[in-house]
Symmetry: C2
Subunit: 327 residues, 2 copies
């Protein structure tokens, strides 16, 4: 049994081999941005979750690698195209592809990455080949849907909390879910086991995203690695904000709406005022509660797996680690 960190190394070695193959492809101008993107790094959490799920049932990873590469390739494709759409300058401290090269290259290299991810799916050796291909395709389509919902929400003033949860489910949680399920499928686990792992990934992904929302406002800059309050400054419709808008009444509501409409403001002052409203309305507690609910569901999904407890340990640890928990 390999630990999370060992699997990250193992995956990165495998990815480097694949990058070496891609380097030989032509035209260079198409594949160079693909390699540049893959080399930006990242935590490789999705492919490693896939390998961890696979390892619950099978210690030989050969059949799992193509699916793991496909997942990481697809994830990086979505980041590349999202960065064009968001007009982002930096990704993991690297210049984004559309800035380093240009928009045309970023669009086309992204398209190639999306198809390359399918090329890795074609390499999967498994009796569940067809199911893996279908799951991958449905997941990919839902991620596009999630991205569109997210873009739609920016200009809508009536987004509900439930719609938000559906959106982050599509945009973030289902790729973790699909990664875990694909790991089960490449190891020929039963449908029940594969579905439990999907649920585990979905619930963990939801908890993780809610934690992200909370930390963006209430985290500590140094440990979180981002500037605190960015969501508030950008008027982002997070779980906190949408709950606040649903709960606020009278003066609190008009204060909040005013804060959302001011264009000329002191950054720290705006952040502090919105945080105060969040505290008054109890949305921080509410968000933590929701996050805990998803996390606890994820843990019970793991409990139900028909696998020796020792084999599950690493997935429990990863879930803990992702949620930055002490226990």
């Amino acid at each position: 049994m390999l630990h999370f960190d060992e699997l990250v190394s193992l995956f990165n070695t495998k990815l480097e081999q694949e990058i070496a193959h891609i380097e030989k492809r032509k035209p260079q101008n198409l594949y160079e941005p693909v390699i540049y993107t893959l080399n930006m790094g990242g935590k490789r959490i999705r492919p490693v979750l896939l390998l961890l799920a696979h390892q619950l049932y099978n210690n030989n990873f050969e059949n799992a690698f193509p699916a793991a590469i496909a997942i990481e390739m697809f994830h990086n494709f979505t980041l590349l195209h999202d960065d064009i759409m968001d007009n982002a300058d930096l990704r993991r401290n690297f210049k984004t592809v559309h800035l380093k090269y240009n928009n045309e290259t970023a669009i086309l290299s992204g398209d190639a990455m999306s198809i390359l991810s399918y090329e890795y799916i074609t390499q999967c050796q498994s009796k569940n080949y067809r199911e893996i291909f279908e799951l991958f395709t449905q997941t990919a389509l839902k991620i596009c849907e999630g991205q569109q919902f997210d873009m739609d929400f920016e200009t809508r003033s009536d987004v509900s909390v439930d719609e938000y949860l559906e959106m982050i489910g599509l945009k973030t949680a289902i790729l973790l879910a699909a990664s875990l399920k694909m790991g089960a499928l490449t190891a020929n686990a039963t449908t029940d086991e594969a579905n439990l792992l999907y649920e585990f990934g979905y619930n963990l992904g939801m908890a993780f995203q809610l934690q992200d929302d909370i930390l963006d406002t209430f985290g500590e800059t140094t440990s979180f690695g981002k500037i605190i309050g960015g969501d508030i400054v950008a008027n982002k419709k997070t779980f906190l904000m949408l709950n606040a808008l649903e709960l606020a009444k009278g003066e609190t509501l008009s204060d909040l709406e005013k804060l959302l409409s001011v264009t000329d403001f002191n950054r720290q002052e705006k952040i502090q005022k919105v945080k105060n409203i969040y505290n008054v309305l109890g949305v921080v507690k509410l968000s933590q509660q929701k996050m805990d609910d998803y996390y606890n569901k994820a843990i019970s999904n793991l409990d139900l797996l028909n696998v020796d407890e020792n084999r599950k340990k690493e997935l429990f640890l990863v879930a803990n680690k992702m949620m930055k928990r002490k226990s």
Copy 2:
């Protein structure tokens, strides 16, 4: 046996049904541009070639439709993203998606179309399922490569005729080739037959693209439906131009190079001067010869098919029709 026009109608009816399904999907802002693109029309030549190849071996089209829809969906995806990259205003007399909506929508809806094409591949019922998926993926990747080569050529001054032929092969011919092969695969034809149909499609596609180059300069505006001489005005590196550059010497070469570098010119005058050079160098005849070579190869591919001559008739007719031949 159905004729070409009957198959166009049949395919369009099927496509309309699929569009009705897509209309129900959410978010609307993601799928509306997909439907808008599919409704622009077009000759549906690729899916109909697929159905014609299928019909050589099997009169029941049920198993061929998902692959035919996948091919048309993917082709339309490439047009959508190409239009962003080329900054085109019109496509089949409709406003392009990025102008009617915006760049973000055009990128994301294109991404969704690419994945939707794979969703149709997942619906293929065939013992050749895996081969169809692999062929589709390899073809899709090569089309991206062809598009990148085409973009690279714009800024290169040393493009060879052979490189050009490789590029149009990737960008245009292999999708016709793959369509025909997929039709054979959905009908469970033998590998030899499927490969012959691939060759036929490739050679026909090459002949068709060379004809396109010739007609852009020497066609008649009314019958061709485009303004004649557009390639010359845009300094496009077509088969004619690249051959002219390889053959021209002395004064002719310097005249041609001057014509390629002038920025302020009379349109008709430039077209006429380049055409004169083409005639002097004999590149028109040379291009027609090359086109005929490919066409004749395509016809001999059809001849070799192990199918009753009567069943092949419709494919001969389509090849003739595409090349606007009298016989």
